[in-house]
């Protein structure tokens, strides 16, 4: 809750992430040409790569301010298990960076001439996929806490781990744009990733925080 209040007071942070996503998505048509067929083909990949980058950029701030003013150490000392606090922080982070991307996804659909069903699929896929990005990214954010050049290092550590989510996230949108109706398998796998990340990531993040803070 505290994170949410703080974020509402600094609204630009949230908007920056959102506009970063929009700008990256808008750059591709300018670079790759505005032909409808090409755009429809690359749309799912572009949207997901932009989502990965946007959520990764915001990750740096996940623990940084708490680490700077010592709140993090207090959190580690509380009687509550650390992974619950981590889960709370990651959830707040996702509400601020992941959820807006879900709602902005129709804009991508407009820019890339996607059919309506594909836009719906993309929103659902982003809804399931972006929490996984936040959860996995939290491990990296905790590991690189307070390091020189932490941001670029974070991308080196985390981006390879994002690959499966991107493959299926983009895959389901492509399939849907081509008119396939049997999307159950994609969503099952994405949800599977989410459950796996929900269980394992907070534990790993808590361990990483202990290593980083000590």
């Amino acid at each position: 809750m505290r994170d949410l209040t703080l974020a509402m007071r600094r609204r630009t942070d949230v908007l920056t992430t959102l506009f970063f996503f929009i700008i990256v998505v808008s750059l591709f048509p300018l670079g790759a040409g505005t032909e409808k067929i090409i755009l429809q083909k690359i749309a799912p990949g572009v949207a997901w790569v932009a989502a990965l980058l946007a959520s990764m950029l915001a990750l740096e701030r996940l623990f940084a301010s708490d680490f700077a003013d010592g709140t993090l150490e207090q959190m580690l000392l509380t009687p509550q298990p650390m992974f619950i606090l981590v889960l709370g922080k990651v959830f707040a982070h996702w509400l601020l960076t992941g959820l807006p991307l879900v709602f902005i996804a129709p804009l991508v659909g407009l820019q890339y001439y996607l059919p309506n069903e594909a836009v719906g699929t993309m929103m659902l896929a982003l809804l399931i996929g972006t929490p996984v990005l936040s959860l996995v990214g939290a491990i990296g954010a905790a590991l690189t806490l307070g390091l020189r050049g932490g941001g670029i290092l974070l991308s080196l550590l985390i981006l390879p781990l994002y690959i499966p989510i991107m493959i299926y996230g983009a895959g389901v949108v492509s399939a849907s744009a081509m008119g396939t109706t049997d999307l159950q398998a994609y969503f099952s796998i994405l949800s599977g990733f989410l459950i796996l990340a929900l269980v394992l990531s907070p534990i790993a993040t808590a361990a990483a925080l202990r290593i980083s803070v000590e």
Partner: protein
């Protein structure tokens, strides 16, 4: 131990390559001499994966038992593993050019090998970015473990990007060598063993350096220095 494994490396590598070059047929179906890349390629690819598992295993041992030596071994394995991965990709590119007509293709195994290289790089980058060796060891160890959990998922997801039809795109390797000429198989296995021995040598030597570097303020290292100088 180091000279022992060193000699074993030399003997196995020379023996295996000799066998591979002179005791095997000159052509393998439609591939001419090129298929001989297999001797290096397969060994390097096996080592790259095996070394990552070993690295993660030592990292886990370090995190569980809090032993410094385990972390040192894990961090000594990483460069050798990265080299093996790079070698597998590099020889694979040459082989791909001669047999498939392309340097690179987004084939599942190649992509996973590339991602493995990224993981090694991430491990080494994190290790070197943290000044405090204790924190560096433990943070990198945790990363290696997270990577280990993700590797099967990544491999599998690249292998089957469409969950409705999981067709393997790659040529399959059959256990037992399939219809491969037994001479080729023997040579390949011997060279792979040589790679393994080389890994032992390189890792043991690197661990020795890491230990000396980290313990440079202790008395036993200083005494070792004095001994060395007296012998000169």
């Amino acid at each position: 131990m180091i000279p022992f494994f060193g000699w074993l490396t030399a003997i196995l590598a020379i023996g295996g390559l000799y066998w591979g070059f002179f005791e095997t047929p000159d052509t393998l179906s439609d591939q001419k001499q090129y298929y001989r890349i297999i001797y290096i390629h397969v060994g390097a690819a096996w080592m790259s994966m095996w070394l990552y598992i070993m690295m993660a295993a030592w990292a886990l041992a370090g995190l569980v038992f809090q032993t410094r030596l385990s972390f040192m071994i894990a961090s000594a394995i990483a460069p050798t593993g990265a080299i093996a991965t790079f070698l597998a990709l590099w020889t694979g590119a040459f082989w791909g050019k001669t047999s498939w007509g392309t340097w690179w293709d987004w084939d599942p195994r190649m992509t996973s090998e590339l991602i493995l290289l990224f993981l090694y790089m991430g491990y080494m980058a994190l290790q070197s970015a943290i000044d405090d060796p204790r924190r560096a060891d433990r943070a990198a160890a945790l990363l290696a473990l997270v990577g280990l959990v993700c590797v099967p998922i990544i491999f599998w997801s690249i292998n089957c990007p469409n969950p409705n039809e999981c067709a393997a795109l790659h040529q399959t390797s059959k256990p037992g060598g399939g219809n491969m000429d037994p001479n080729i198989l023997i040579a390949m296995l011997v060279v792979a063993l040589a790679f393994w021995m080389y890994a032992f040598v390189a890792i043991l030597m690197r661990v020795r350096n890491i230990i000396l570097e980290r313990e440079r303020h202790t008395t036993w290292v200083n005494e070792l220095n004095k001994l060395l100088e007296e012998n000169k």
